[in-house]
């Protein structure tokens, strides 16, 4: 996987901050057989955390849109779109997108550890 | 020095088992090979020697899931009812305690020197040669005095009592016979040494095992690791 460009401080700050209520991302925590509990995500960190869940359920196009427009991380949104187009298996998509977003989160935290 | 009543006659196979036991337990034989037969134990007490049981139950208390199915099966196969109090194997558990101390399994050890047999005043409790020298109670001879129960050396007495209106005391003693005398046994093979034991057959997680080899006469000898790699596949510790 090609390395992500280092984010600038402004982008890192946006990714580490909460988004307002109207920009939250709605997903679900699911398990086979247990039901579906809505997950309301208010930060990039919360999205990463959801993707680390066992069987996260969120709309990839909605995620891409959210990254592009709410967080204005165009590079990350483009990379998510690439994975969506290239990987057919949902489990595979989930894992690759998770790894990608984890990397971005690490970059941001390294820039603004506080 | 205590002098104890010897019980039962010895068979050839019993003698082999007995020699095996003597070599393991460090006792010194001062009697003959034929019954009755006395041994000195490490403290210098004189004991009757018993033919070793030809079967034993081993358990793994770290593996048990606490469903008590073994207890229910035991009482069913012996008494025809599901009864935790009359089960010859006892599983104790504490919902709030930490693993592995939350569960203990107390099964009869078919002791090499069975205090219960020695205590029985009527000869009801014997190392029964007809049943592979398993320590068995003849219900007809038992008078329900519970001396066997009192003399059992373990904290959780391995014997229990069954209500029996025919007895003056209203009860009779019961203990693990490896299902040798199980009126409701499900299988043509039957129970006892070489047969099928209800608790072993029923246990869903294979935390109870039958063995023909006498375990080391200690807690560790009877409480063993039955957790193999398959158990590990389920995310449980195997060490």
């Amino acid at each position: 996987m090609t390395e992500l460009t280092e984010p600038d401080l402004a982008l890192a700050a946006r990714l580490l901050a909460d988004v307002p209520h109207h920009q939250r991302l709605v997903a679900h925590r699911k398990r086979q057989r247990w039901g579906s509990i809505p997950a309301y995500l208010y930060s990039f960190g919360e999205v990463v955390r959801l993707l680390q869940d066992k069987q996260p359920a969120l709309s990839w196009p909605a995620l891409e849109h959210w990254l592009r427009h709410a967080l204005r991380d165009v590079e990350l949104a483009d990379r998510v779109a690439e994975i969506m187009a290239q990987v057919s298996c949902e489990q595979g998509k989930t894992m690759q997108i998770r790894v990608l977003l984890e990397r971005r989160l690490s970059q941001c935290r390294a820039l603004a550890p506080s | 020095m205590a002098r104890h009543r010897a019980t039962g006659s010895q068979t050839a196979s019993g003698a082999i088992r007995r020699r095996e036991f003597l070599s393991r337990s460090g006792t010194v034989a001062i009697g003959g090979i034929l019954s009755p037969f006395l041994v000195l134990d490490a403290s210098g007490d004189l004991h009757a020697a018993y033919a070793a049981s030809q079967g034993y139950l081993l358990v793994d208390t770290k593996k048990c899931q606490g469903c008590l199915s073994c207890m229910l099966a035991c009482s069913l196969v012996h008494d025809g009812e599901a009864n935790l109090s009359t089960a010859r194997i006892q599983v104790l558990q504490d919902s709030f305690a930490k693993w592995p101390e939350d569960v203990s399994i107390e099964q009869c050890r078919q002791c090499a020197t069975p205090a219960c047999v020695e205590a029985c005043p009527t000869g009801a409790l014997t190392a029964d040669p007809q049943r592979g020298h398993v320590r068995c109670i003849d219900p007809a001879k038992c008078i329900g005095c519970t001396l066997c129960l009192l003399k059992c050396p373990f904290v959780v007495k391995r014997l229990t009592v069954v209500q029996d209106e025919r007895k003056l005391t209203g009860i009779r003693a019961a203990k693990c016979d490896l299902c040798a005398d199980a009126p409701y046994h499900w299988s043509d093979v039957g129970g006892g040494p070489g047969g099928e034991q209800a608790c072993v057959a029923i246990c869903p997680v294979e935390a109870i095992q039958y063995t023909a080899t006498m375990p080391k006469q200690s807690l560790q000898g009877y409480n063993v690791n039955l957790r193999d790699a398959n158990w590990g596949k389920l995310g449980y510790p195997t060490d």
């Binding site: 086979q32 | 199915s69 069913l76 599901a82 935790l84 006892q90 569960v103 869903p204 995310g235």
Partner: protein
């Protein structure tokens, strides 16, 4: 008796402090569990049912009832008990409802010589019930300072009291009968602070984490000033044919249960074949273990833990003792917690307060969203003292649960916001003037009866219909489990183990008397409101009414439609249930007869709801189910069998809405199938008489509610 019954039922009048008994045989037709409870309930309340709009009614009767299979060796059945009464959770009124729980309580009650307990009246001062075999005593809580203790401490206190000078870890004599002895601890079901404070979200807790949540029966205990019931039994349960029971158990083990030497799955299933692994849902990123199955689980030393008689436990006890015996939604309270340890401690706190886990998960989501929207917080429209600045910490969870479970701030001051929380999010939303709008938007995802949505009625059709036609979230995973396997395979990019056509064929073959309907399992858009769908929903009501609610087969293991260990993948349902039942009872019940008995029980329940005021017009979903499409999600998606273009396929139904007229069509089809009046939903006399319930028809007739 030699048929699985203890033979007597306890009747406790708390107002008069009177303990009486009556023979179970008086209700022999009603088998046990829910059916027997409903029949007793009807007899005791028939003259006041029309005015029982809430569980707080002084003549409400709470019943705990075992089945003839309780306390025996019947797997995933022997350890469960049904709880029945008018609830306080549902809206617009508290319907006659139910819950149940597992563990050791049911077995102990049976072994003490009792099939069930009927609780009436209200104690003047807090009491607890001490059952030791045939010795039954109502005791003051004051003696042990029991009132005020949480749901764990109260059990430990009672354990000590019952042991007296004896010690657990050896044989004890509980003193209930001559020669009575046991190595077991008493089984205690209790309420925590939430029940004492009469919170609608209060549940009953037994041992560390067995809970009866739905209905808010903890609040009923609290209102009646009944803190706990302790039972220890030293007797047994006679079964008709012990050999047959042992053979049946071993048959199940050999043919249909997990095999350690040949594990075909290491993941928990809601089926007979499940391995004994805990159904915890921490979903914590710190807890990833070796392999797909362990992502939710703590990795420390642990054992599986099972209810009495179960062949495959679904919980665990741990080396740290944290989260002992917890599973399912109890472990989902804090998915955003700072650590797995916080999640586990939060789970334990939830059980100590004895709060309804599902309700608390949705309440937390709801109030956090309002907080984020600037609507809820100090000085906001909803003036809330709950500080979200440390959301995710244990301190936050403690404050939340304390407020919801005591109606007070942490310093003990009564607080209106805390009181609103204690009522559950639905009623809180009404207090805050937000109910209608938030139900319309789906911001408050409470799809039916004021209860949080579990599976989505827009996709999981039988679940939603079953719920609105009943009284509570059905929480019956029977079909869901089958479709979930296909969904999981899809997520992993694999073909399903059993193709849709085969799955439908196998499942349908186990659905008498509707097994001749080829469209009964079609979840397609074209079949959402049809007579075929009505049959699916009806069969589900009948099967579960008899086998799960009455006989107490566990929802997490039964039915067994499709089985990965069976040679042709065909599970044992239809064969196994009657085989176990007949071995214990000595009856000769056929599978088809059992489904018909389920129909009878379902009709009795429906008659009770009708007497309470149920009308066809009540039977509807919240607006968002009609107006907002089911969430579109990638990642893990749910598939259902659909018949299209002449073949069965698994398809996702995300994006679907229910149509109001369509749902009305479905109701008409369902009422027609039931023999109920299609305009009102009231039962018809002919139907009730055919089901041998003329006295029920008479009672409905007296209140003008015959169809």
């Amino acid at each position: 008796m030699n048929n699985g019954y203890a033979g007597q039922i306890l009747r406790i009048d708390l107002s008069e402090r009177q303990i009486t008994t009556f023979p179970t045989s008086r209700y022999a037709d009603w088998v046990g569990g829910h059916a027997l409870s409903a029949a007793i309930f009807f007899d005791l309340t028939r003259h006041v049912l029309h005015e029982m709009q809430d569980g707080y009614h002084p003549q409400n009767v709470l019943i705990l009832m075992t089945s003839p299979l309780t306390g025996t060796l019947v797997p995933a059945c022997a350890g469960r008990i049904e709880v029945t009464g008018i609830g306080v959770q549902s809206h617009p009124i508290g319907w006659f409802t139910r819950g149940n729980f597992g563990g050791r309580f049911a077995t102990m009650l049976k072994h003490a010589g009792w099939d069930g307990i009927v609780i009436e009246g209200t104690a003047a001062t807090p009491v607890w019930l001490d059952i030791r075999d045939q010795r039954v005593t109502l005791r003051e809580c004051q003696e042990l300072s029991l009132w005020g203790q949480d749901a764990w401490d109260s059990q430990l206190t009672i354990w000590d009291y019952v042991a007296g000078k004896q010690h657990y870890g050896r044989w004890i004599d509980p003193g209930g009968r001559v020669h009575g002895r046991t190595t077991q601890r008493p089984a205690v079901v209790t309420i925590g602070p939430s029940g004492e404070n009469v919170c609608r979200t209060a549940c009953l807790i037994h041992d560390a984490s067995n809970a009866s949540g739905q209905g808010g029966f903890g609040a009923i205990f609290g209102l009646k000033r009944l803190k706990a019931i302790s039972v220890i039994g030293t007797g047994g349960v006679a079964v008709h044919d012990p050999r047959a029971l042992l053979e049946a158990r071993l048959w199940l083990k050999e043919k249909y249960s997990f095999r350690l030497s040949d594990l075909k799955s290491t993941d928990i299933e809601l089926a007979v074949a499940s391995p004994p692994v805990p159904g915890v849902l921490y979903g914590n990123w710190l807890a990833k273990g070796p392999g797909d199955s362990f992502g939710d689980r703590p990795t420390e030393g642990q054992r599986p833990q099972a209810c009495v008689g179960c062949h495959a436990g679904c919980r665990a006890r741990y080396e740290s003792g944290l989260g002992n015996e917890a599973g399912c939604v109890e472990t989902m309270l804090c998915p955003d917690a700072d650590s797995l340890e916080v999640q586990r401690r939060a789970t334990d706190l939830l059980n100590r307060y004895a709060l309804n886990a599902w309700e608390m998960v949705f309440t937390l989501n709801y109030i956090r969203n309002l907080n984020k929207a600037g609507q809820l917080g100090p000085g906001c429209v909803i003036d809330s003292p709950l500080d979200f600045s440390d959301y995710g910490s244990l301190a936050f969870v403690e404050r939340l649960l304390h407020m919801a479970g005591t109606k007070c701030l942490p310093d003990g001051t009564p607080d209106p916001f805390a009181e609103a929380l204690s009522e559950g999010a639905y009623r809180a939303a009404a207090r805050w003037g937000r109910l209608e709008g938030d139900l319309r938007s789906g911001e408050l995802p409470y799809a039916h009866w004021g209860i949080p949505m579990h599976f989505d009625p827009r996709t999981e059709l039988e679940w939603g219909y079953g719920t609105i036609l009943g009284d509570r979230d059905i929480n019956e995973h029977d079909f869901q489990n089958v479709w979930a396997k296909a969904s999981f395979a899809d997520w992993r990019g694999r073909e399903p183990d059993v193709p849709a056509a085969d799955a439908v064929r196998i499942v349908r073959s186990k659905m008498p008397p509707f097994d001749d309907d080829p469209r009964i399992l079609d979840y397609g858009d074209h079949n959402m409101y049809t007579a075929h769908m009505a049959k699916l929903v009806a069969w589900h009501r009948y099967y579960t009414r008899f086998w799960k609610l009455t006989v107490q087969f566990c929802d997490w293991r039964w039915p067994d439609f499709i089985n990965i260990y069976a040679s042709d993948k065909t599970g044992c349902t239809g064969l196994a249930e009657p085989r176990f039942y007949n071995a214990v009872t000595g009856q000769n019940l056929s599978y088809s007869q059992s489904i018909e008995l389920g129909r009878r029980i379902w009709n009795l329940d429906h008659a009770i709801w009708t007497l309470q005021g149920r009308h066809r017009d009540h039977v509807r979903f919240a607006d968002y189910i009609y107006d907002v499409p089911a969430a579109s999600a990638n990642g893990y998606r749910e598939l259902f069998p659909v018949f299209e273009d002449g073949q069965w396929r698994y398809q996702t139904r995300f994006g679907r809405r229910l149509d109001r007229d369509g749902v009305e069509n479905f109701k008409t089809e369902f009422y027609r199938l039931q023999g109920w009046n299609e305009a009102t939903g009231y039962p018809k006399r002919d139907t009730l008489e055919e089901l041998e319930m003329p006295e029920v028809a008479d009672e409905l007739g007296r209140h003008g509610r015959l169809g």
